[in-house]
Protein backbone atom coordinates (compact mmCIF):
# COMPACT_ATOMS: atom_id res chain seq x y z
CA UNK A 1 0.00 0.00 0.00
CA UNK A 2 1.06 3.62 -0.44
CA UNK A 3 2.01 5.54 2.68
CA UNK A 4 3.81 8.69 3.67
CA UNK A 5 7.38 7.95 4.76
CA UNK A 6 9.34 10.35 7.00
CA UNK A 7 12.99 10.54 5.95
CA UNK A 8 14.24 13.40 8.14
CA UNK A 9 13.52 17.05 8.86
CA UNK A 10 11.77 18.66 5.88
CA UNK A 11 11.98 15.38 3.89
CA UNK A 12 9.01 13.10 3.30
CA UNK A 13 7.92 10.89 0.41
CA UNK A 14 5.35 8.30 -0.52
CA UNK A 15 6.52 4.69 -0.52
CA UNK A 16 5.06 1.23 -0.71
CA UNK A 17 4.75 -0.18 2.80
CA UNK A 18 3.29 -3.49 4.01
CA UNK A 19 -0.47 -3.65 4.55
CA UNK A 20 -1.11 -3.18 8.31
CA UNK A 21 -1.98 -6.21 10.42
CA UNK A 22 -4.34 -6.84 13.30
CA UNK A 23 -1.91 -6.97 16.23
CA UNK A 24 -4.43 -6.98 19.06
CA UNK A 25 -7.94 -8.48 19.25
CA UNK A 26 -9.47 -5.02 19.67
CA UNK A 27 -7.81 -3.64 16.49
CA UNK A 28 -9.43 -2.72 13.21
CA UNK A 29 -7.88 -2.04 9.83
CA UNK A 30 -9.30 1.04 8.14
CA UNK A 31 -9.03 2.02 4.47
CA UNK A 32 -8.39 5.74 4.58
CA UNK A 33 -10.82 7.95 2.66
CA UNK A 34 -9.55 11.35 3.82
CA UNK A 35 -6.58 12.46 5.90
CA UNK A 36 -5.22 15.84 6.78
CA UNK A 37 -1.91 17.44 7.55
CA UNK A 38 -2.20 19.03 10.97
CA UNK A 39 -0.23 22.05 12.14
CA UNK A 40 1.24 19.80 14.81
CA UNK A 41 2.51 17.44 12.08
CA UNK A 42 4.78 20.31 11.11
CA UNK A 43 6.55 20.03 14.48
CA UNK A 44 7.44 16.45 13.47
CA UNK A 45 8.27 17.50 9.91
CA UNK A 46 10.62 20.17 11.26
CA UNK A 47 12.38 17.65 13.54
CA UNK A 48 11.21 19.31 16.74
CA UNK A 49 9.74 16.26 18.50
CA UNK A 50 12.24 13.83 20.08
CA UNK A 51 12.08 10.16 19.03
CA UNK A 52 10.65 10.83 15.59
CA UNK A 53 12.05 7.88 13.70
CA UNK A 54 12.81 7.59 10.01
CA UNK A 55 10.28 5.35 8.29
CA UNK A 56 7.26 6.39 10.34
CA UNK A 57 4.00 7.40 8.63
CA UNK A 58 2.45 10.54 10.09
CA UNK A 59 -1.21 11.48 10.17
CA UNK A 60 -3.60 11.67 13.09
CA UNK A 61 -6.61 13.22 11.34
CA UNK A 62 -8.36 10.69 9.12
CA UNK A 63 -11.58 9.00 8.16
CA UNK A 64 -11.93 5.63 6.53
CA UNK A 65 -13.89 2.50 5.85
CA UNK A 66 -13.47 -0.48 8.17
CA UNK A 67 -11.88 -3.30 6.18
CA UNK A 68 -11.14 -5.81 8.91
CA UNK A 69 -11.85 -6.13 12.64
CA UNK A 70 -10.17 -8.11 15.42
CA UNK A 71 -12.05 -10.93 17.22
CA UNK A 72 -12.97 -8.78 20.23
CA UNK A 73 -14.39 -5.83 18.31
CA UNK A 74 -18.16 -5.70 18.88
CA UNK A 75 -19.47 -2.28 17.85
CA UNK A 76 -17.76 -1.69 14.50
CA UNK A 77 -18.37 -3.81 11.46
CA UNK A 78 -16.67 -4.16 8.12
CA UNK A 79 -17.91 -1.47 5.75
CA UNK A 80 -18.60 1.18 8.40
CA UNK A 81 -17.39 4.64 7.40
CA UNK A 82 -15.77 6.08 10.50
CA UNK A 83 -14.02 9.17 11.73
CA UNK A 84 -11.12 8.28 13.97
CA UNK A 85 -10.20 10.58 16.89
CA UNK A 86 -6.51 11.40 16.92
CA UNK A 87 -5.97 10.04 20.42
CA UNK A 88 -5.86 6.31 21.05
CA UNK A 89 -7.88 5.49 24.16
CA UNK A 90 -8.73 2.22 25.90
CA UNK A 91 -11.92 3.53 27.55
CA UNK A 92 -11.19 1.49 30.69
CA UNK A 93 -8.28 3.05 32.56
CA UNK A 94 -8.62 5.52 35.42
CA UNK A 95 -8.19 8.47 33.09
CA UNK A 96 -10.49 7.38 30.27
CA UNK A 97 -13.19 6.74 32.90
CA UNK A 98 -12.94 10.41 33.86
CA UNK A 99 -13.46 11.52 30.26
CA UNK A 100 -9.75 12.20 29.86
CA UNK A 101 -9.58 10.28 26.58
CA UNK A 102 -6.51 12.27 25.55
CA UNK A 103 -4.65 10.93 28.58
CA UNK A 104 -5.20 7.18 28.27
CA UNK A 105 -2.76 5.14 30.34
CA UNK A 106 -2.90 2.05 28.12
CA UNK A 107 -1.85 3.29 24.70
CA UNK A 108 1.69 4.61 24.98
CA UNK A 109 4.47 2.66 26.70
CA UNK A 110 7.17 5.08 25.53
CA UNK A 111 6.14 8.09 27.60
CA UNK A 112 3.83 8.58 30.53
CA UNK A 113 3.07 12.25 29.96
CA UNK A 114 1.12 11.70 26.77
CA UNK A 115 -1.31 9.04 25.57
CA UNK A 116 -1.01 7.28 22.24
CA UNK A 117 -1.55 9.37 19.10
CA UNK A 118 -1.65 8.07 15.54
CA UNK A 119 1.48 8.85 13.55
CA UNK A 120 2.99 11.19 16.09
CA UNK A 121 6.51 9.90 16.84
CA UNK A 122 7.49 7.23 19.32
CA UNK A 123 7.06 9.77 22.10
CA UNK A 124 3.34 9.29 21.39
CA UNK A 125 3.41 5.52 21.09
CA UNK A 126 5.13 4.65 17.80
CA UNK A 127 1.98 4.13 15.75
CA UNK A 128 1.81 4.58 12.01
CA UNK A 129 -0.70 7.23 11.04
CA UNK A 130 -3.40 7.85 8.50
CA UNK A 131 -1.45 9.53 5.69
CA UNK A 132 -1.62 6.19 3.95
CA UNK A 133 -4.05 3.96 2.12
CA UNK A 134 -4.64 1.75 5.18
CA UNK A 135 -4.04 2.13 8.88
CA UNK A 136 -4.23 -0.02 11.99
CA UNK A 137 -6.69 1.39 14.54
CA UNK A 138 -6.34 0.02 18.10
CA UNK A 139 -9.27 -0.01 20.56
CA UNK A 140 -11.64 0.07 17.61
CA UNK A 141 -14.74 0.00 19.81
CA UNK A 142 -13.70 3.12 21.73
CA UNK A 143 -12.48 5.88 19.44
CA UNK A 144 -13.84 5.40 15.92
CA UNK A 145 -17.29 6.87 15.41
CA UNK A 146 -19.56 6.02 12.50
CA UNK A 147 -20.03 9.10 10.34
CA UNK A 148 -23.70 10.14 10.25
CA UNK A 149 -25.10 9.43 6.76
CA UNK A 150 -25.97 13.07 6.10
CA UNK A 151 -22.53 14.38 7.05
CA UNK A 152 -20.06 15.60 4.43
CA UNK A 153 -16.84 13.53 4.65
CA UNK A 154 -14.83 16.76 4.61
CA UNK A 155 -16.65 17.90 7.75
CA UNK A 156 -16.12 14.47 9.31
CA UNK A 157 -12.35 14.44 8.86
CA UNK A 158 -12.05 17.78 10.61
CA UNK A 159 -13.99 16.40 13.57
CA UNK A 160 -11.06 14.08 14.33
CA UNK A 161 -8.90 16.91 15.70
CA UNK A 162 -9.26 20.49 14.46
CA UNK A 163 -12.83 21.10 15.59
CA UNK A 164 -12.60 19.34 18.99
CA UNK A 165 -9.23 20.91 19.76
CA UNK A 166 -10.48 24.38 18.83
CA UNK A 167 -13.69 23.88 20.80
CA UNK A 168 -11.87 22.51 23.83
CA UNK A 169 -9.48 25.45 23.75
CA UNK A 170 -12.50 27.73 24.15
CA UNK A 171 -14.16 25.45 26.68
CA UNK A 172 -11.03 25.30 28.86
CA UNK A 173 -10.99 29.09 28.83
CA UNK A 174 -14.15 29.03 30.93
CA UNK A 175 -15.49 31.87 28.79
CA UNK A 176 -18.36 33.80 30.37
CA UNK A 177 -20.88 36.07 28.63
CA UNK A 178 -19.32 39.45 27.89
CA UNK A 179 -15.70 38.23 28.13
CA UNK A 180 -12.88 39.30 25.87
CA UNK A 181 -11.04 36.31 24.42
CA UNK A 182 -7.63 36.52 22.75
CA UNK A 183 -6.41 33.65 20.58
CA UNK A 184 -2.72 33.51 19.71
CA UNK A 185 -2.17 31.80 16.35
CA UNK A 186 -4.27 31.93 13.18
CA UNK A 187 -3.56 28.44 11.99
CA UNK A 188 -6.48 26.02 11.57
CA UNK A 189 -6.70 25.34 15.32
CA UNK A 190 -6.51 29.01 16.29
CA UNK A 191 -9.13 29.96 13.72
CA UNK A 192 -11.41 27.16 14.96
CA UNK A 193 -10.80 28.18 18.59
CA UNK A 194 -11.82 31.74 17.72
CA UNK A 195 -14.92 30.48 15.93
CA UNK A 196 -15.91 28.15 18.77
CA UNK A 197 -15.28 30.80 21.42
CA UNK A 198 -18.49 32.53 20.25
CA UNK A 199 -20.55 29.53 21.42
CA UNK A 200 -19.77 30.61 24.98
CA UNK A 201 -21.09 34.16 24.57
CA UNK A 202 -18.08 36.49 24.71
CA UNK A 203 -18.33 40.14 23.69
CA UNK A 204 -15.06 40.16 21.76
CA UNK A 205 -12.82 37.58 20.14
CA UNK A 206 -9.40 38.76 19.00
CA UNK A 207 -6.86 36.71 17.06
CA UNK A 208 -3.14 37.52 16.85
CA UNK A 209 -0.72 36.23 14.20
CA UNK A 210 1.81 37.57 11.72
CA UNK A 211 0.64 35.94 8.48
CA UNK A 212 -1.61 38.45 6.77
CA UNK A 213 -3.61 36.05 4.58
CA UNK A 214 -4.43 33.92 7.61
CA UNK A 215 -5.59 36.95 9.57
CA UNK A 216 -7.85 37.89 6.68
CA UNK A 217 -9.21 34.33 6.57
CA UNK A 218 -9.82 34.42 10.34
CA UNK A 219 -11.72 37.72 10.09
CA UNK A 220 -14.10 36.20 7.57
CA UNK A 221 -14.39 32.65 8.90
CA UNK A 222 -14.39 33.28 12.65
CA UNK A 223 -16.01 36.74 12.57
CA UNK A 224 -13.36 38.03 14.94
CA UNK A 225 -10.96 40.94 15.19
CA UNK A 226 -7.54 40.06 13.80
CA UNK A 227 -4.21 41.81 14.31
CA UNK A 228 -0.74 41.32 12.91
CA UNK A 229 1.75 41.42 15.78
CA UNK A 230 4.45 42.62 13.38
CA UNK A 231 2.51 45.82 12.94
CA UNK A 232 2.16 46.27 16.70
CA UNK A 233 5.05 47.72 18.64
CA UNK A 234 4.31 45.43 21.57
CA UNK A 235 1.38 42.99 21.37
CA UNK A 236 1.04 42.75 25.14
CA UNK A 237 0.73 46.52 25.55
CA UNK A 238 -1.71 46.61 22.63
CA UNK A 239 -3.91 43.97 24.24
CA UNK A 240 -3.80 45.72 27.61
CA UNK A 241 -4.76 49.00 25.97
CA UNK A 242 -7.67 47.49 24.06
CA UNK A 243 -9.03 45.89 27.24
CA UNK A 244 -9.14 49.08 29.36
CA UNK A 245 -5.59 48.36 30.56
CA UNK A 246 -6.72 45.30 32.50
CA UNK A 247 -5.95 42.44 30.12
CA UNK A 248 -8.12 39.86 28.40
CA UNK A 249 -10.41 37.61 30.41
CA UNK A 250 -9.21 34.55 28.54
CA UNK A 251 -6.08 33.95 26.45
CA UNK A 252 -5.68 30.88 24.27
CA UNK A 253 -2.30 29.59 23.05
CA UNK A 254 -2.97 27.88 19.74
CA UNK A 255 0.60 28.11 18.48
CA UNK A 256 2.90 25.91 20.52
CA UNK A 257 6.58 25.33 20.10
CA UNK A 258 7.27 27.09 16.81
CA UNK A 259 6.06 30.56 17.71
CA UNK A 260 7.69 33.64 16.24
CA UNK A 261 7.83 37.16 17.61
CA UNK A 262 10.52 37.06 20.30
CA UNK A 263 14.16 36.78 19.29
CA UNK A 264 15.34 35.25 22.56
CA UNK A 265 12.58 32.63 22.56
CA UNK A 266 13.19 31.83 18.89
CA UNK A 267 16.94 31.46 19.36
CA UNK A 268 16.87 29.41 22.54
CA UNK A 269 13.90 27.30 21.48
CA UNK A 270 14.17 26.77 17.76
CA UNK A 271 17.84 27.32 16.93
CA UNK A 272 19.87 26.28 19.98
CA UNK A 273 17.24 23.80 21.25
CA UNK A 274 17.96 24.88 24.83
CA UNK A 275 14.24 24.62 25.49
CA UNK A 276 11.45 22.60 23.94
CA UNK A 277 10.68 25.10 21.22
CA UNK A 278 9.82 28.75 21.43
CA UNK A 279 7.39 29.74 24.18
CA UNK A 280 6.52 33.18 22.78
CA UNK A 281 2.77 32.60 22.42
CA UNK A 282 2.46 31.26 25.94
CA UNK A 283 4.55 34.10 27.31
CA UNK A 284 2.28 36.62 25.60
CA UNK A 285 -0.83 34.77 26.80
CA UNK A 286 0.31 34.88 30.41
CA UNK A 287 1.31 38.52 30.19
CA UNK A 288 -1.83 39.63 28.30
CA UNK A 289 -4.46 37.97 30.44
CA UNK A 290 -6.00 39.92 33.30
CA UNK A 291 -5.35 39.17 36.96
CA UNK A 292 -7.38 36.13 37.92
CA UNK A 293 -7.86 35.34 34.22
CA UNK A 294 -7.56 32.03 32.43
CA UNK A 295 -4.93 30.82 30.00
CA UNK A 296 -5.94 27.86 27.87
CA UNK A 297 -3.19 25.95 26.08
CA UNK A 298 -3.70 23.65 23.10
CA UNK A 299 -0.47 24.53 21.29
CA UNK A 300 1.90 21.58 21.21
CA UNK A 301 5.15 21.75 23.16
CA UNK A 302 7.76 19.02 23.14
CA UNK A 303 9.65 17.77 26.16
CA UNK A 304 11.47 18.60 28.35
CA UNK A 305 11.13 22.29 29.37
CA UNK A 306 10.05 25.77 28.29
CA UNK A 307 10.90 29.18 29.63
CA UNK A 308 7.68 30.96 30.53
CA UNK A 309 6.99 33.72 33.09
CA UNK A 310 5.71 31.42 35.81
CA UNK A 311 6.22 34.18 38.40
CA UNK A 312 3.55 36.20 36.65
CA UNK A 313 1.21 33.22 36.78
CA UNK A 314 1.58 33.26 40.57
CA UNK A 315 1.48 37.01 41.02
CA UNK A 316 -1.56 37.49 38.78
CA UNK A 317 -3.43 34.47 40.14
CA UNK A 318 -3.87 33.02 36.68
CA UNK A 319 -5.57 29.68 36.07
CA UNK A 320 -3.88 27.60 33.40
CA UNK A 321 -5.88 24.86 31.73
CA UNK A 322 -4.37 22.61 29.09
CA UNK A 323 -4.82 19.23 27.52
CA UNK A 324 -4.91 17.26 24.34
CA UNK A 325 -8.48 17.38 23.11
CA UNK A 326 -10.75 14.69 24.48
CA UNK A 327 -12.27 14.09 21.06
CA UNK A 328 -14.57 11.24 22.04
CA UNK A 329 -16.11 13.31 24.84
CA UNK A 330 -16.86 16.26 22.60
CA UNK A 331 -18.06 14.54 19.43
CA UNK A 332 -21.81 14.35 20.22
CA UNK A 333 -22.10 18.11 20.78
CA UNK A 334 -19.86 19.00 17.86
CA UNK A 335 -21.74 16.72 15.46
CA UNK A 336 -24.92 18.55 16.55
CA UNK A 337 -23.33 21.92 15.78
CA UNK A 338 -22.18 20.75 12.34
CA UNK A 339 -25.49 19.10 11.45
CA UNK A 340 -27.41 22.20 12.51
CA UNK A 341 -25.20 24.34 10.26
CA UNK A 342 -23.75 26.33 13.14
CA UNK A 343 -20.23 25.15 12.34
CA UNK A 344 -18.71 24.75 8.89
CA UNK A 345 -15.50 22.75 9.39
CA UNK A 346 -14.92 22.11 5.68
CA UNK A 347 -14.78 25.88 5.18
CA UNK A 348 -11.22 25.65 6.51
CA UNK A 349 -10.06 23.43 3.65
CA UNK A 350 -8.09 25.30 1.03
CA UNK A 351 -6.14 22.45 -0.60
CA UNK A 352 -6.96 18.91 -1.75
CA UNK A 353 -3.87 17.04 -2.75
CA UNK A 354 -3.38 13.39 -3.79
CA UNK A 355 -1.41 11.31 -1.27
CA UNK A 356 1.18 10.72 -3.99
CA UNK A 357 2.10 14.42 -3.82
CA UNK A 358 2.76 14.36 -0.09
CA UNK A 359 6.15 16.12 -0.32
CA UNK A 360 4.61 19.11 -2.08
CA UNK A 361 1.65 19.06 0.33
CA UNK A 362 3.94 19.34 3.36
CA UNK A 363 6.00 22.07 1.76
CA UNK A 364 2.91 24.09 0.81
CA UNK A 365 1.56 23.92 4.38
CA UNK A 366 4.91 24.39 6.10
CA UNK A 367 6.02 27.31 3.91
CA UNK A 368 2.50 28.82 3.89
CA UNK A 369 2.43 28.82 0.09
CA UNK A 370 -0.63 29.53 -2.04
CA UNK A 371 -2.55 30.97 0.97
CA UNK A 372 -2.79 27.51 2.51
CA UNK A 373 -4.96 27.08 5.60
CA UNK A 374 -5.83 23.38 5.65
CA UNK A 375 -4.78 20.52 3.41
CA UNK A 376 -6.74 17.33 2.85
CA UNK A 377 -4.93 14.36 1.36
CA UNK A 378 -6.88 12.01 -0.87
CA UNK A 379 -5.41 8.48 -1.04
Amino acid sequence: MLAMNYRGPYRVRVDHKPYPEILHPEDAIVRVTRSCICGSDLHLYHGMVPDTRVGQTFGHEFTGIVEEVGPMVQKLKVGDHVLVPFNIACGKCTFCKQGLFGNCHESNPMATAVGGIFGYSHTAGGYDGGQAEYVRVPYADVGPTVIPPDMDPDDAVLLTDVVPTGYQAAEMGGIKPGDTVVVFGAGPIGIMAARCAWFFGPARVIIIDHVEYRLEFARNYAKCEAYNFKSLEDPVVFLKKTTDWLGADVCIDAVGCEAEGNTMQTFTGRVALLQAGSGTALQWAINSVKKGGIVSIVGVYGPPYNMIPIGNVVNKGITIRANQASVKRLLPRLIEHVQAGRLDPKGLITHRIPLQEISEAYNIFSSKLDNCIKTVLIP
Binding site: L23, P50, P109, N363
Partner: protein, 161 residues
Protein backbone atom coordinates in the same frame (compact mmCIF):
# COMPACT_ATOMS: atom_id res chain seq x y z
CA UNK B 1 -29.48 46.59 28.31
CA UNK B 2 -27.93 45.90 24.95
CA UNK B 3 -29.71 43.33 22.86
CA UNK B 4 -26.92 40.81 22.50
CA UNK B 5 -28.96 38.43 20.38
CA UNK B 6 -29.25 40.95 17.56
CA UNK B 7 -25.71 42.22 18.03
CA UNK B 8 -24.31 38.74 17.41
CA UNK B 9 -26.99 37.52 15.00
CA UNK B 10 -24.37 37.21 12.25
CA UNK B 11 -22.54 34.53 14.28
CA UNK B 12 -24.43 31.23 14.11
CA UNK B 13 -24.70 29.64 17.54
CA UNK B 14 -23.48 32.65 19.52
CA UNK B 15 -23.92 31.92 23.23
CA UNK B 16 -25.52 28.50 22.66
CA UNK B 17 -23.10 26.67 24.94
CA UNK B 18 -23.14 29.14 27.82
CA UNK B 19 -23.25 27.09 31.00
CA UNK B 20 -22.59 29.18 34.07
CA UNK B 21 -22.64 26.05 36.24
CA UNK B 22 -19.75 24.54 34.30
CA UNK B 23 -17.05 26.00 36.55
CA UNK B 24 -14.36 24.87 36.95
CA UNK B 25 -14.49 23.45 33.51
CA UNK B 26 -12.65 20.66 31.71
CA UNK B 27 -10.13 19.19 32.40
CA UNK B 28 -10.82 18.63 36.06
CA UNK B 29 -10.58 15.80 38.48
CA UNK B 30 -13.81 13.87 38.29
CA UNK B 31 -13.72 12.00 41.56
CA UNK B 32 -15.38 8.64 41.30
CA UNK B 33 -13.29 6.72 43.79
CA UNK B 34 -11.92 4.68 40.88
CA UNK B 35 -8.66 6.63 41.12
CA UNK B 36 -7.88 4.85 44.35
CA UNK B 37 -8.06 1.50 42.62
CA UNK B 38 -4.76 2.65 41.10
CA UNK B 39 -3.76 0.24 38.33
CA UNK B 40 -6.39 -2.34 39.26
CA UNK B 41 -8.82 -1.38 36.52
CA UNK B 42 -10.15 -3.88 34.00
CA UNK B 43 -7.38 -3.95 31.44
CA UNK B 44 -7.48 -5.05 27.81
CA UNK B 45 -5.49 -8.15 26.91
CA UNK B 46 -1.81 -7.58 26.26
CA UNK B 47 -0.62 -7.05 22.67
CA UNK B 48 2.25 -9.50 21.99
CA UNK B 49 5.67 -7.84 21.77
CA UNK B 50 6.71 -8.83 18.24
CA UNK B 51 9.38 -6.13 17.85
CA UNK B 52 11.64 -4.41 20.36
CA UNK B 53 9.67 -1.77 22.24
CA UNK B 54 11.47 0.78 24.40
CA UNK B 55 9.45 1.41 27.53
CA UNK B 56 9.49 4.45 29.78
CA UNK B 57 11.03 3.58 33.14
CA UNK B 58 8.20 5.55 34.76
CA UNK B 59 5.80 2.67 34.28
CA UNK B 60 6.08 -1.01 35.32
CA UNK B 61 4.88 -2.75 32.16
CA UNK B 62 4.06 -2.14 28.54
CA UNK B 63 0.68 -0.65 27.80
CA UNK B 64 -1.97 -3.06 26.51
CA UNK B 65 -1.44 -1.78 22.96
CA UNK B 66 1.46 0.02 21.31
CA UNK B 67 2.82 0.92 17.91
CA UNK B 68 5.34 -1.30 16.19
CA UNK B 69 6.66 0.96 13.46
CA UNK B 70 10.40 1.60 13.07
CA UNK B 71 11.84 -0.43 15.96
CA UNK B 72 15.22 0.75 17.27
CA UNK B 73 18.21 -0.31 15.18
CA UNK B 74 21.80 0.63 14.44
CA UNK B 75 23.68 3.36 16.26
CA UNK B 76 20.53 5.43 16.74
CA UNK B 77 18.89 2.41 18.34
CA UNK B 78 21.80 2.01 20.77
CA UNK B 79 21.47 5.66 21.78
CA UNK B 80 17.73 5.34 22.22
CA UNK B 81 18.13 2.23 24.39
CA UNK B 82 20.49 4.19 26.66
CA UNK B 83 18.15 7.20 26.70
CA UNK B 84 15.29 4.98 27.85
CA UNK B 85 17.26 3.94 30.94
CA UNK B 86 16.59 7.48 32.19
CA UNK B 87 13.25 8.93 33.14
CA UNK B 88 11.26 11.46 31.15
CA UNK B 89 12.30 14.00 33.77
CA UNK B 90 15.92 13.98 32.60
CA UNK B 91 17.69 15.86 29.85
CA UNK B 92 19.73 12.67 29.42
CA UNK B 93 16.54 11.02 28.21
CA UNK B 94 15.54 13.66 25.66
CA UNK B 95 18.76 15.17 24.31
CA UNK B 96 20.26 11.81 23.25
CA UNK B 97 16.95 11.08 21.60
CA UNK B 98 17.29 14.15 19.38
CA UNK B 99 20.86 13.09 18.57
CA UNK B 100 19.55 9.62 17.71
CA UNK B 101 16.92 11.19 15.43
CA UNK B 102 19.61 13.01 13.47
CA UNK B 103 21.81 9.90 13.21
CA UNK B 104 18.74 7.98 12.13
CA UNK B 105 18.40 10.33 9.14
CA UNK B 106 21.88 9.30 7.93
CA UNK B 107 21.03 5.64 8.58
CA UNK B 108 17.91 6.14 6.47
CA UNK B 109 19.99 7.38 3.55
CA UNK B 110 22.38 4.42 3.92
CA UNK B 111 19.42 2.01 4.00
CA UNK B 112 18.01 3.62 0.85
CA UNK B 113 21.34 3.22 -0.95
CA UNK B 114 21.67 -0.40 0.22
CA UNK B 115 18.28 -1.11 -1.36
CA UNK B 116 19.46 0.54 -4.57
CA UNK B 117 17.31 3.62 -4.05
CA UNK B 118 18.99 6.99 -4.44
CA UNK B 119 16.94 9.45 -2.38
CA UNK B 120 15.67 12.34 -4.44
CA UNK B 121 16.44 15.05 -1.92
CA UNK B 122 14.72 17.82 -3.86
CA UNK B 123 11.56 15.81 -4.52
CA UNK B 124 11.39 14.79 -0.83
CA UNK B 125 11.54 18.45 0.15
CA UNK B 126 8.63 19.22 -2.18
CA UNK B 127 10.61 21.74 -4.20
CA UNK B 128 8.04 21.49 -7.00
CA UNK B 129 5.65 23.43 -4.78
CA UNK B 130 8.23 26.21 -4.37
CA UNK B 131 8.71 26.29 -8.15
CA UNK B 132 4.97 26.62 -8.63
CA UNK B 133 4.05 29.06 -5.86
CA UNK B 134 7.27 30.73 -4.72
CA UNK B 135 9.57 30.80 -7.72
CA UNK B 136 11.19 34.09 -6.78
CA UNK B 137 11.93 32.87 -3.24
CA UNK B 138 13.31 29.58 -4.55
CA UNK B 139 15.60 31.30 -7.05
CA UNK B 140 16.80 33.72 -4.35
CA UNK B 141 17.58 30.75 -2.10
CA UNK B 142 19.44 28.94 -4.88
CA UNK B 143 21.47 32.04 -5.71
CA UNK B 144 22.30 32.60 -2.04
CA UNK B 145 23.49 28.99 -1.62
CA UNK B 146 25.51 29.23 -4.84
CA UNK B 147 27.13 32.48 -3.70
CA UNK B 148 28.05 31.07 -0.27
CA UNK B 149 29.41 27.89 -1.90
CA UNK B 150 31.50 29.95 -4.33
CA UNK B 151 32.95 32.02 -1.48
CA UNK B 152 33.81 28.91 0.55
CA UNK B 153 35.47 27.23 -2.45
CA UNK B 154 37.43 30.38 -3.23
CA UNK B 155 38.64 30.74 0.37
CA UNK B 156 39.74 27.12 0.58
CA UNK B 157 41.43 27.10 -2.82
CA UNK B 158 43.34 30.29 -1.84
CA UNK B 159 44.52 28.62 1.37
CA UNK B 160 45.82 25.60 -0.54
CA UNK B 161 47.93 27.86 -2.75
Amino acid sequence: MENTDSKYAHIPGWGMDIDLENEPTYPMKNYTGADHDRLNYERSVQQPETVEILKSNERPTLTAVFGTTSPPSGLSGMIRRWAFTHSEDRYRHWIPMILADRINVVEGIVDDLKRGHIPNYFAEKGIKADWKYNRKGLLTKVLAVAAVTAVVITVFSDKKK
